[in-house]
């Protein structure tokens, strides 16, 4: 069974593996994936426990890396569709 993006995000933040470039690039290219990562931060923020705090922090770290790649996607799309 293919893992959903949410499952891959959960695996990455809960297993403590190094951030995967492929996942960073995928999230950076997808507004839905960016929203999903933020939503998971919000869910873990409501839950108690060290595991939830670690997951929150790792998602933040992932989004830091995503920010630097998403810049390129957004600047390119703004060039293709200039703001009115």
């Amino acid at each position: 069974m293919t893992e959903s993006l949410t499952q891959r995000l959960l695996r990455t933040v809960l297993e403590g593996d190094p951030l995967d470039d492929e996942l960073v690039n995928e999230v950076a290219a997808s507004p839905d994936a960016q929203a999903e990562a933020v939503r998971l931060v919000g869910v873990f923020a409501q839950l108690p426990g060290d595991g939830a705090r670690v997951a929150e922090a790792r998602l933040d770290q992932l989004l830091d890396a995503v920010s630097l790649v998403a810049v390129g996607h957004i600047v390119m799309s703004d060039v293709a569709q200039p703001a009115k």
Partner: protein
């Protein structure tokens, strides 16, 4: 690997220089030579891992970013922070819109997030000297959205009163009640508690709590979806 990447990059140089030639026309004098922008693009591209497979797309994106960063640094040097912010607005608004869709309603207006980011950037001494002011500004917006996601801790309404996250932290019974309200079974409550309280591996938590074998992250995703639903943090439908 770098030699091979450079060879492939060199084959892209005519296309990149053509695009750089178009981009410099929108820059104030003195304009950089297109080749300077292409060389700056190479420095970024070769510093990034995982770019080999999509080199052309990455190089074109980084060329746009290098040009914008250079234009921003020129504006900083001229002391024209307002012009820099005006150039950043459409990019930051798009980024704030994407991220804020993951927040629970009522969501902050992306324009307000951008304005808040500018307030922070205005006070930052690092922003105006950063090599990558675009990336710095994107991180500022991301940090604001994460603050919203963390700050918005709605209390959980239980039978007798509202319970905040701090109390949940110290009261497994209250957590149990909250998870029951989310419709979780005993196995699902056990699994989530073992993961968030005890940092147990997801597959081990599933096994220990008597869950069916296999697909532990599928099970966890469904559990978190139900918790999110009970907290009003559903997936955005745009």
């Amino acid at each position: 690997m770098t030699d091979e990447l450079r060879e492939r990059f060199e084959r892209l140089i005519p296309e990149l220089e053509r695009r750089a030639g178009e981009l410099v026309l929108s820059m104030p004098e003195p304009r950089p030579h297109p080749s300077e922008l292409v060389e700056a693009t190479w420095r970024v591209v070769c510093s990034k891992r995982g770019t080999e497979a999509a080199l052309r797309a990455v190089a074109l994106r980084e060329l746009e970013c290098c040009t914008t960063n250079l234009a921003l640094r020129r504006m900083f040097d001229a002391g024209d922070l307002e012009a820099a912010f005006a150039r950043l607005v459409p990019h930051l608004r798009a980024w704030a819109t994407n991220l804020s869709r993951g927040l629970s309603p009522p969501r902050p207006d992306p324009d307000d997030l951008v304005q808040d980011a500018f307030l922070k950037l205005r006070k930052s001494q690092m922003f105006v000297v950063a090599d990558n002011p675009l990336g710095y500004a994107f991180r500022a917006v991301k940090n604001l959205v994460i603050d919203h996601a963390r700050r918005k801790r709605p209390t959980v309404e239980l039978a007798d009163r509202h319970v905040g996250a701090t109390e949940l932290e110290t009261s497994p019974e209250r957590l149990d009640e909250m998870l029951t309200r989310a419709g979780l079974s005993a196995m699902e409550k056990c699994m989530l508690s073992r993961v968030v309280f005890d940092k147990l591996a997801v597959s081990a938590a599933q096994r220990e709590c008597g869950g069916p074998p296999g697909a532990p992250y599928y099970v966890l995703e469904k559990i978190l979806d139900r918790v999110a639903g009970s907290l009003g943090i559903d997936r955005s439908r745009k």
